[in-house]
């Protein structure tokens, strides 16, 4: 009994110590604030990296220097778990030549970071019409994000396609991902020169 009590006390103390060693100063802020900060920062974060071989539906894109996204605490961006793979994202200039008609084109939007990982959305246009919305990247750094992404990714794509715009219901329980999804989608629209209704 005494041993059990001692072990419990040790476990509580040890856990507190470990957590506080890994915590950032001012860590008791509410996540909403942090997310808001993140969102503000993320708007500027047109993250692009060296294209990985076969890394996305769009290839032959020029490479751009990698940009580090600062997190709310001011530390360099290190997402939970192993660092995410460099993402191949579209930086197609808006003045891209119009593709020959009758051929579908894929365009990737910018990557937007959420607290849980990056969101990159792509669109497929055929003769100026939006025929498909797909995700190139969704938060998957932890099982929770992954399961939310797996669940809501297709739903959001479908909603976007139906709405033909960025005006559709966000996913419950995945608000930040939905917001980043819309931002990325908008940038894909802009790049592809697709005018929303």
């Amino acid at each position: 009994m005494r041993r059990a009590m001692l072990s419990l006390a040790g476990l509580v103390a040890g856990t507190t110590l470990l957590v506080s060693l890994k915590s950032a100063p001012g860590a008791s802020r509410l996540p909403g604030q942090v997310a808001a900060d993140n969102a503000a920062l993320a708007v500027h974060a047109a993250v692009s990296a060296t294209p990985t071989p076969g890394g996305g539906p769009v290839d032959g894109l020029p490479s751009a220097p990698e940009i580090t996204v600062p997190t709310a605490s001011g530390a360099p961006a290190t997402t939970k778990g192993p660092t995410p793979k460099p993402t191949a994202t579209a930086t197609r200039p808006p003045t891209a030549p119009k593709p020959p008609s009758g051929q579908p084109t894929n365009t990737l939007g910018d990557s937007y970071s959420t607290e849980f990982g990056y969101v990159t959305v792509g669109v497929t246009l055929l003769n100026g019409k939006l025929t498909a919305v797909f995700t190139d990247e969704l938060p998957a750094d932890e099982p929770r994000s992954k399961s939310l992404s797996d669940k809501w990714g297709p739903v959001l794509c479908q909603r976007a396609l139906t709405a033909q715009s960025t005006t559709f219901d966000t996913a419950t329980g995945a608000t930040y991902t939905s917001l980043a999804f819309k931002q990325s989608l908008q940038s894909a629209f802009d790049k592809a020169g697709f005018a929303t209704r």
Binding site: M1, L8, L11, T15, A24, A27, L30, P31, A72, K80
Partner: protein, 462 residues
């Protein structure tokens, strides 16, 4: 008449050297080695979290709570495996740690496990609720609905908490032992049900990598331990020895000795150890009871001396010669190998004399025995005790009477102990008997100045 008549027992008359050499003593280091291994394994489990969590990444309240929840999750997962492993009856653990310490550790770790699991679940739940800015009830429905294997994990928590409550002494003691044991089997269900969510949703475990490999390795070790300790080991042991009832002999009021025959009996166990015996006869085969050997192994027979108090033990009187016996063991580290000194004092209370009598044969010459019984009629094995004592240069003190009589009361004081055995501080003390008696004797020995590490006892209750 068989040759098992009491006056011929003890292996003293025929065969083998009349005076055994005591087995080599081994140190207590084995227990420490196991303890260190357990701690190292625990440390590695937590290091996995440390390595995967970047510095300063816990930057809000939700993340802090989840971080703590994950640490406790890893701790709980590890504890669950160890609690099961400690009870796997693997020979190495039984020998190095001893059944008594194992069951103590199992109980303590089990208690910690229940609290840890509850803390893990609530921290994760509240942490995610804070992150998502929803109520914890809503978060609970999200977790249950959208995550793989979470329902079974919640069931596992419920079973575990239920078992934890049942284990509270006041509740456990009103339950029949067999029911308690049956309910306790559901802990395997906990192992099974909690497994899925660890690998599907565990932040450190859901991805392939060293952490996951380590965790899988732990499961493999524990499952192998269970398979060996619970199935293969007992099977080989029983097939090898083939125990059968040879004779049942009256030793005194309510006390019988059961003699067993079999093959290679000398290697079956050590004096002081016990087995869980299942007599494969109608009416008694459903229950397995722990009885100690009441004579050192001698190559011709094994003997158990049993007080026939309950229904089951009374039924054992009717055992027929030739009845097959299934044994699980040997268990316990209450053996001569545990001694740290050149001499020993053995203290028996009531039927605890069985293992003490066996140990007397294996301990170094010059031991002392204190045998506490309520009356002369209750003294069993007296003739052989006296004879072994003579052969082994030991003295035997019979302390008789009710616990309120002068002599028994004096015995259970530091002064009383010193009076009977003046050099008690320089002896190992082996204690066996009812719980209360052993506790009282231990405290008397402590006040007589016997260091704790020189006291060895065995418990009859587990």
């Amino acid at each position: 008449m068989t040759f098992f008549a009491p006056e011929q027992t003890g292996g003293l008359r025929t065969g083998g050297p009349p005076i055994r050499r005591p087995p080599r003593a081994h140190s207590l280091a084995g227990r420490d080695v196991i303890l260190v291994l357990l701690w190292v394994g625990f440390g590695v489990g937590l290091y996995v979290w440390w390595r995967d969590t970047p510095t300063a990444s816990l930057n809000n309240r939700g993340e802090l709570l989840i971080g703590a929840g994950r640490i406790l999750g890893l701790a709980a997962g590890y504890l669950l495996l160890m609690v099961v492993l400690l009870r796997s009856r693997v020979g190495v653990l039984e020998r190095l740690v001893g059944a008594e310490a194992l069951s103590r550790w199992h109980r303590d770790f089990g208690g910690v496990l229940v609290v840890t699991v509850l803390a893990h679940a609530s921290l994760i739940l509240v942490g995610y609720a804070v992150l998502d800015d929803v109520t914890w009830l809503h978060e609970l429905s999200v977790l249950m609905g959208e995550y793989q294997d979470m329902t079974s994990a919640v069931v596992a928590v419920c079973i575990l908490v239920g078992l934890g409550l049942l284990a509270i002494r006041a509740i456990r003691t009103v339950m029949p032992y067999e029911l308690w044991k049956l309910l306790h089997l559901s802990s395997y269900l906990v192992l099974l049900l909690s497994y899925g969510h660890q690998f599907a949703n565990g932040q450190q475990l859901f991805r392939p990598g060293p952490a996951r490999t380590y965790w899988v390795g732990l499961y493999v070790v524990v499952l192998a331990g269970l398979a060996w300790g619970r199935l293969i080991g007992p099977l080989l042991f029983n097939l090898g020895h083939g125990f059968r009832v040879a004779d049942v002999v009256d030793e005194g009021p309510d006390v019988i000795s059961i003699y067993l025959s079999g093959r290679r009996l000398r290697t079956a166990g050590r004096a002081g150890q016990f087995f869980r015996w299942r007599f494969l006869a109608p009416g008694v085969w459903l229950q397995a009871h722990p009885f100690s050997l009441s004579a050192a192994t001698n190559g011709r027979w094994l003997r158990l001396t049993v007080k026939t108090v309950g229904g089951h033990t009374t039924a054992l009187r009717g055992l027929r010669t030739g009845t097959r016996v299934w044994a699980q063991g040997p268990m316990g580290s209450f053996t001569a190998t545990r001694r740290t000194r050149g001499r020993a004092l053995l203290i028996a209370g009531g039927i605890g004399i069985g293992p003490i009598r066996a140990l007397l044969e294996e301990l170094p010459l010059g031991a002392s025995v204190i045998y506490r019984a309520s009356s002369v009629d209750d003294v069993v094995l007296r003739a052989e005790l006296d004879r072994i004592a003579e052969l082994r240069d030991a003295d035997v003190w019979y302390v008789l009477g009710s616990r309120y009589d002068a002599a028994p009361r004096a015995l259970l004081t530091g002064g009383g102990m010193l009076q009977i055995v003046p050099d008690v501080r320089n002896r190992d003390v082996y204690l066996c008997g009812p719980h209360g008696f052993v506790r009282a004797a231990r405290s008397a020995l402590r006040s007589a100045g016997v260091p704790r590490r020189q006291m060895h006892d065995t418990l009859f209750e587990f």
